[in-house]
Amino acid sequence: GESVGLHLPTLSVQEGDNSIINCAYSNSASDYFIWYKQESGKGPQFIIDIRSNMDKRQGQRVTVLLNKTVKHLSLQIAATQPGDSAVYFCAESLRGYALNFGKGTSLLVTP
């Protein structure tokens, strides 16, 4: 069936470096994508989203890139900080239906 998956289950970066978290999706009809950050004991926290009619969207220190040709989504975090340490999930949806989540990537920021 259709699925969303992450290329790297864990990622360790040094403080101040840029981080890139990747995600592959298989439902070419998905029209909306979201990145969430989840800290231990908390619910997923919205980071940034992008619609299928866009290929790039920037927020504060974060950028999401969407490549529909290869069905790939990435999250870039600039100048990674210790507070960015968390599990990051990508999710896709179609026309407001339920979000389909991947298993997540654990980001560890070391000093």
Binding site: G41, G43, R51, R95, Y97, N100
Partner: protein, 114 residues
């Protein structure tokens, strides 16, 4: 309220007992979702409510699971005859009815079945 509120935050129950988990969505949000997150796993879709439409129950893992949404606002997820494999964090999310955006999650209920 300002965010999605879930209660209780933690629930320990004995195997075979029934439990009810509550979700208060953001005021005015017509779409409401329940998800389950097992330890170290991603989020598994359970059920979706949209306005007055019949809910999409396609994600419920067994007939022991049910959910209702009263008055288009508060939702209750009920698990009957709980099993140890039901232990997980149950997350609720809501979004505005118009447009495909604005999903906001609560902090979840951690259910432990002993």
């Amino acid at each position: 309220g300002a965010g999605v509120s879930q209660s209780p935050s933690n629930k320990v129950t004995e195997k075979g007992k029934d439990v009810e988990l509550r979700c208060d969505p953001i005021s005015g949000h017509t779409a409401l979702y329940w998800y389950r997150q097992s330890l170290g796993q991603g989020l598994e879709f359970l059920i979706y409510f949209q306005g007055n439409s019949a809910p999409d129950k396609s994600g419920l893992p067994s007939d022991r699971f049910s959910a209702e949404r009263t008055g288009g606002s508060v939702s209750t997820l009920t698990i009957q005859r709980t099993q140890q494999e039901d232990s997980a964090v149950y997350l609720c999310a809501s979004r505005p009815g118009q447009g495909n955006y604005g999903y906001t999650f609560g902090s979840g209920t951690r259910l432990t079945v002993v």
